[in-house]
Amino acid sequence: MKLSIRTKLLAALGVDLLLMLVLGSFALHQMSTMNQKADFVVNQTILSIDLVNAMNDIILNYRTRQMEYILNAAPADKQRIEKELLDLEQRMDDMFWRYNASYQPDQTERTVFEQVQKDWERYVHLTHTQFIPANRNSNTGNVHPSFGRLSPLYGSLQTNIQKVREQSQARAEAARVSVETAYATSRFVIVSETFLTLVVSAVIGLTLSGNIARRIRTLRDATVAVAQGDLDQRVALRGSDELVLLANNFNLMVASLRQQRVLLEERNAELSASLEAQRKLMDDLVQRKQAEEAAHRAQAAAEAASHAKSMFLATMSHELRTPLNAILGYVQLLHLEAHMRGRSEMLPDLERIRSAGKHLLTIISNILDFSKIEQGKMNVEINPFSVDTVAREVIGIIEPLARNRKNTLNLVCPPDAGMMQSDAGKVRQILFNLLSNAVKFTEEGTVTLTVERERHPDGDWVQFSVADTGIGIAPEQMAHLFQPFYQVHQNRSRNYGGTGLGLALSRQLCRLLGGDIRVTSEVGRGSVFTVRLPACIDAAHTADVRLDFAHSAHYGIPDEHRITTTSSLHTTTSISA
């Protein structure tokens, strides 16, 4: 069906209209036919019957007058009757004329009627030629034979008039039947055609509407399915009407939707991927943040632990020093008593106890110093002193140790070494640590302390180098060298002694005094530790140094070496934060 719905509907309407028109025209035709028949009956048949009846009356009257003519003897009556007869003839002629003028009979009836006319004319002719002449003068009352001779003609007239009447009646009947038939036909045709129209309309309507409804349902189902997300819908409608166009457009729309959904899904996937990536990034960030926080916590914990360790060491050192001081005190007392009471044989042993005790005290002091520096509680006391003097003092302290290990101890100090404005005790402590290490790890070798003064416009520097010909340090151990409690020669520490704090403490002290320490070494050939210190530092300078020194809140406490040299409160310059 390649027509639009509108066309179809119009076509259906057209078919209906056509059927109605046919029906209407047919009905009109039937009506006119019936009308004609009825007219015919009214105008022709009824008229002819009336005329025929009138003619029959005239004929009967005529016969009756003839009888009277015979029976009446008076000439006046005879004359009156003759006149009446003429009158009747006149009327009869008039009837004939009317009949012929207004009536179109069929052939049979015409023939019969013409016979009637002929018979009438002959009857009249015979009446006038034979009957009247024969009876005018008769008064007998006897019937003249001429009357008798008229009888057959009269009979024929009667018969033929009857025939004409019958014909007319037959025609009327035929017309009636025809009208009736036409009516029946019309009724049948109208009823059947109405029914046909109804059926055709119904069929067309039902077919069309059913078809449209079915296809709209298909479309509706498809739209519902699409609305529920099924985009694989495809509406297949045959034809080319609006619904098919709609279906095609619907299919296009669904295809577009499908395409867009695919695009959307792709976009969605991209978005999801992007989100996932972002989430990962976020997770990474969070993890990194957490890691940072963990690192911070760990650092804080480490610092706290370090602090706790330092506190512990300080406390322990103090607690160790108290009884150790008592021991040293009693040794001193015994030494004095032995000396005063002449018990000189006890003196070497007492000296050994004292020496060992001093060593222990040094170790404990180092620990205490180190923990003080770690806690930032080390003070720096700045005094002017002679570099040469300090160097010689330390050499003097180290000399017995060097001798014990069969080492040659050299001091190279130029005359212009000059003065330093710094913390003499700490310089002494650094040199002592470096020299005792050098002596400790060298046997039958040479240990040399070299002092140099570097002159700079913005302040001189003093460099102390401690070179030995000892066992040396492997490169991989250099990095750990200045770490607290690290001992390069772990397996030999028992032989060499020490706390593992000496170098770490020395470096801390160097930095505290605004300088630093470095080392070069070759395994088996020996090591050179070089300390560079500013010749002159002041409170501001150490304050600057302190900034580099993360834990430094306070500086300094004099150690036991310094206590032996600084004896008065009033000559002590101390810095405290």
């Binding site: 103090h318 020093r321 108290t322 009884p323 150790l324 001081n325 008592a326 040293l328 005190g329 009693y330 001193q332 007392l333 004095l336 008593e337 005063m340 005290l361 509680k377 003070n379 406490i557 004099p558 036991e560 206590i563 032996t564 004896s567 008065s568 409160l569 009033h570 101390s574 405290s576």
Partner: protein, 128 residues
């Protein structure tokens, strides 16, 4: 014979100091805390007081300032003896009235030198 009052809460420290000083010819009295130190000082009128700073009951700073507040003891030099040599503590000791300080562990020679010098300077007891 000069009298030295040794105030220290550690028995060993007291014992060593006293016996050392006795060996070289001083008379000694000792106290285990600041309160005891004031009582002993009032009772024995020492020529010099060696005052440990960290002590129970009454610490060395408190005891020194109380001694310096007493007319009969004001002239006696007080030498602080301490294991905690920090500028803050030393300053507190000087503020309380100590004339000098000696760090623990005590270098006996130095202690004797300071004590001798303070006694020689007489009742003014000031060190340059």
């Amino acid at each position: 014979m000069a009298t030295v009052l040794v105030a220290d809460d550690f028995l060993e420290n007291r014992d060593i100091l006293c016996r050392m000083l006795q060996l070289i010819g001083y008379r000694t009295v000792s106290a285990a805390n600041g309160e005891e130190a004031i009582q002993m000082a009032l009772a024995h009128r020492p020529d010099i007081i060696l005052m440990d700073l960290s002590m129970p009951v009454m610490d060395g700073w408190e005891a020194t300032s109380r001694i310096k507040a007493l007319d009969e003891l004001r002239h006696v030099p007080v030498l602080a003896v301490t294991g905690h040599v920090t500028p803050h503590e030393i300053q507190r000791a000087i503020d309380a009235g100590c004339v000098d300080y000696v760090a623990k562990p005590i270098d006996f020679e130095m202690l004797v030198g300071k004590v001798t010098a303070l006694l020689q300077n007489g009742r003014d007891g000031q060190v340059s």
